[in-house]
Amino acid sequence: VEPVVVIHGGAWAIPEKICDASRNGVKLAARKAYEIVKSGGSALDAVEAAVILLENEPVFDAGKGSCLNAAGEIEMDASIMDGTSLKAGAIAAVTNINNPISLARLVMEKTDHCLLVGEGANMFAKECNVPSVDPSTLITEDCLEEWKTFQKYTSAVDSLFNNQINSLTIGHD
């Protein structure tokens, strides 16, 4: 069968200044995955390798370059699914690893579960000897700036209407 790879780097109002880096990132990820399947590798290995490359590229909102939540912290989510066995693995709200997609694959391959979240996901990462990193290494200057702007905006709006802003879901993940 002719192998096929499709990659996305996120759907949103991507700012002009990161357009070229975004194009280059998805091209590199597609090349990486295609090399793997062309040389006989599995679709699972290829999707994991492609997403790891994108998680390591700070211009994308995943892994390094993740957004900061209301508390100024990083919470990352990921999922992976094998179309043959229908096995799936996912993690949510993990805070201190470089590649959430690899932890999601460990959930798929080393547990009977489909999803581990929060502290449990972080404990599972430790159990699997996934190296933990200082969350500050995952935060980029741009994300910090965006968060500060968000803070300023919400406090301004908050004081203006004097009401608690429950959840300002600005747009997209």
Partner: protein, 140 residues
């Protein structure tokens, strides 16, 4: 959010999605990316999908599985992705994007947001784009 869908030489399909969330989101808020059937789905007999965009909207319509169901009923991958995103827009006013590979090896993508970075590698040709209607190609 980032994602990948791949069909290997054995016709096996896998899908993966990863996200760092939304700036200023409530602590503990989880979007579609880790939810099988919403952010990610793969089944060899039909296809694989990875989604991105407004997480709560994608969850409400189970976007990834929605695409798969349309394909299961005979729709090709491109139409399935486009119609699913149009449904999400009309039904829950959400915008987003999705990539898809069908069991026959058709590669598809669509987005209803301003932009989406995408790339396709197939038959030694690399295609990519980001703006609406942008489509670049080069030999691998």
């Amino acid at each position: 959010t980032v994602g990948a869908v791949v069909m290997d030489c054995n016709g096996r399909i896998a899908a993966a999605t990863s996200t760092g969330g939304i700036t200023g989101k409530r602590v503990g808020r989880v979007g579609d990316s880790p939810l099988i059937g919403s952010g990610t789905f793969a089944i060899d007999e039909i296809g694989g999908v990875s989604c991105t965009g407004h997480g709560e909207s994608i969850i409400k319509i189970c976007l990834a599985k929605h695409v798969i169901c349309l394909m299961e009923n005979g729709m090709n991958a491109q139409n399935a992705v486009e119609q699913s995103l149009q449904f999400m827009n009309s039904r829950v006013k959400g915008a987003g994007g999705a990539i898809c590979i069908s069991a026959s090896g058709e590669a598809a993508f669509h987005f209803t947001t301003e932009r989406m970075a995408w790339a396709i590698a197939k038959a030694n040709v690399l295609s990519w784009g980001l703006d609406p209607n942008e489509h670049n190609t080069e030999m691998m």
